[in-house]
């Protein structure tokens, strides 16, 4: 129950940031769905895996969904990707690092800062891997329209 509730909050937060980035209102539901799913995957995995690992798998989920919706809606993947990935960016860890530095707990600060870096690298890996998949892989998501299909074949993403 809490997980579903958190997912809804994450979706709402993602939509709020989508608005800040000027995403057309038409795409808000998809942004929300992607952001919520990303957070859901992250918080589920975080119980068993390390933070970087869960961040990576959550990123992979976010980007797979973003690419599917981008093909489906025929719009740039950036629209879904940027707001969807927002809940995963290690802003909180950066904060804790600053906090520990100020409170003179240098060892903790170093560890947290390094963790933030690891999470960032994990996100990078997730993004890079999923974008390596060829566009044809996502063709199943396209609306069944022959002309659009042919056009897709030529476009990379």
């Amino acid at each position: 129950m809490t997980a579903v509730c958190e997912m809804a909050v994450a979706a709402l937060g993602t939509v709020a940031f989508a608005l800040l980035f000027g995403v057309p209102a038409l795409y808000y539901p998809y942004c929300g769905l992607i952001g919520g799913t990303g957070w859901f995957v992250y918080s589920m995995l975080a119980q068993g895996f390390s933070e970087p690992a869960s961040a990576m798998f959550a990123t992979i989920a976010v980007i797979l969904l973003s690419r599917i919706f981008a093909v489906r809606k025929q719009c740039p993947v950036t629209i879904f990707l940027i707001s969807g990935i927002f809940p995963l960016v290690p802003g909180a860890l950066v904060y804790w690092t600053a906090y520990y530095i100020v409170t003179d707990e240098i060892a903790l600060a170093a560890r947290t800062g390094f963790l933030a870096l690891k999470v960032a690298v994990a996100i990078v890996l997730g993004i890079v891997f999923v974008f390596e998949l060829p566009q044809g892989f996502f063709r199943f998501a396209a609306k069944k329209d022959k002309r659009a299909l042919k056009e897709k074949g030529r476009k990379k993403r």
Binding site: G13, G22, V23, T78, I82, G91, A92, Y95
Partner: protein, 262 residues
């Protein structure tokens, strides 16, 4: 012959403008190059080649049959308007599919450039909602989220009315981090929130450079190393500045209160 020259010029101008809009509003380098290329090729200009950096576009065209054209445009980094990116993308599809004249394309692009963004009130509200949501997600309770909503609203007011038009990026982000920390500490002292840390984490979210970070990675993955590293630098600098702002206020408070409040 002259007409053809005129048309070529118009096409190249349109391609340049399309690239300008995309780059300015947060598209990847790859998309900018591809869109410009596609517009040129659709109208039969084969000799066009463009080089895109994170804040500038260089385009040249010309061979024995086509007129020589060269243009350099500096494009300062500004806000992200993904609706414009989507609109240019849609237009580029229409160009490929249909019979738009170069002049019509230019007009459409001018329209896209003037597309109104979301109103300031909506943006400020969205910032508050986003802050509250992330405060809750990172472990705050309802009261903390309400406080984060308030400081998120104040923060975005600061970004729109003070930081955006008057301050440089570095100072703006240090100031933003400091503002949020000071405000949250105040709210915490007034017992309007129970977990200071979660309140601050939630309300600094609108400052986090998510666009620069994501685009940097994608540019580097596409092999656009220069633009990618400039954007990554931008993202890291902003992260660093936010942390500085937070740290600054914390250590000041530490000095004055002897560390009792943390």
């Amino acid at each position: 012959m002259n007409e053809r020259k005129e048309e070529e010029r118009e096409v190249l101008d349109a391609a340049m403008l399309a690239g300008h809009i995309l780059l300015e509003n947060g598209a990847e380098i790859f998309r900018v190059e591809e869109t410009m290329d596609r517009i040129c090729r659709h109208y039969g200009i084969k000799s066009c080649s463009s080089f895109v950096l994170s804040n500038g576009i260089f385009t040249t065209a010309g061979n024995e049959r086509e007129e020589i054209f060269a243009k350099v445009q500096h494009i300062p980094v500004s806000g992200t308007h993904l609706d414009r990116v989507a609109a240019v993308n849609q237009l580029s599809r229409e160009i490929e599919a249909g019979s738009l004249t170069p002049h019509a394309v230019k007009e459409r692009l001018d329209q896209i450039q003037r597309m109104p963004g979301k109103s300031k009130k909506m943006q400020i509200l969205a910032s508050g909602v986003g802050s509250a949501c992330f405060c809750f997600l990172f472990g705050g309770n309802g009261k903390d989220a309400a406080a984060a909503f308030f400081s998120g609203v104040v923060l975005y007011g600061y970004i729109i009315f003070l930081a955006g038009p008057h301050l440089t990026k570095l100072v703006a982000n240090i100031g933003g981090g400091a503002l949020v920390t000071a405000l949250c500490t105040l709210l915490y002292k007034l017992h309007l929130g129970e977990h200071l840390n979660f309140m601050i984490i939630g309300s600094i979210m609108p400052l986090i450079p998510g666009v620069a970070f994501t685009n940097a990675i994608r540019d580097i993955a596409d092999g656009d190393y220069i633009a990618g590293s400039v954007r990554m630098m931008d993202a890291l600098l902003v992260f660093f500045c936010i942390a500085m702002g937070v740290g600054l206020v914390f250590s000041l408070l530490h000095q004055f209160t002897g560390g009792g409040f943390l």
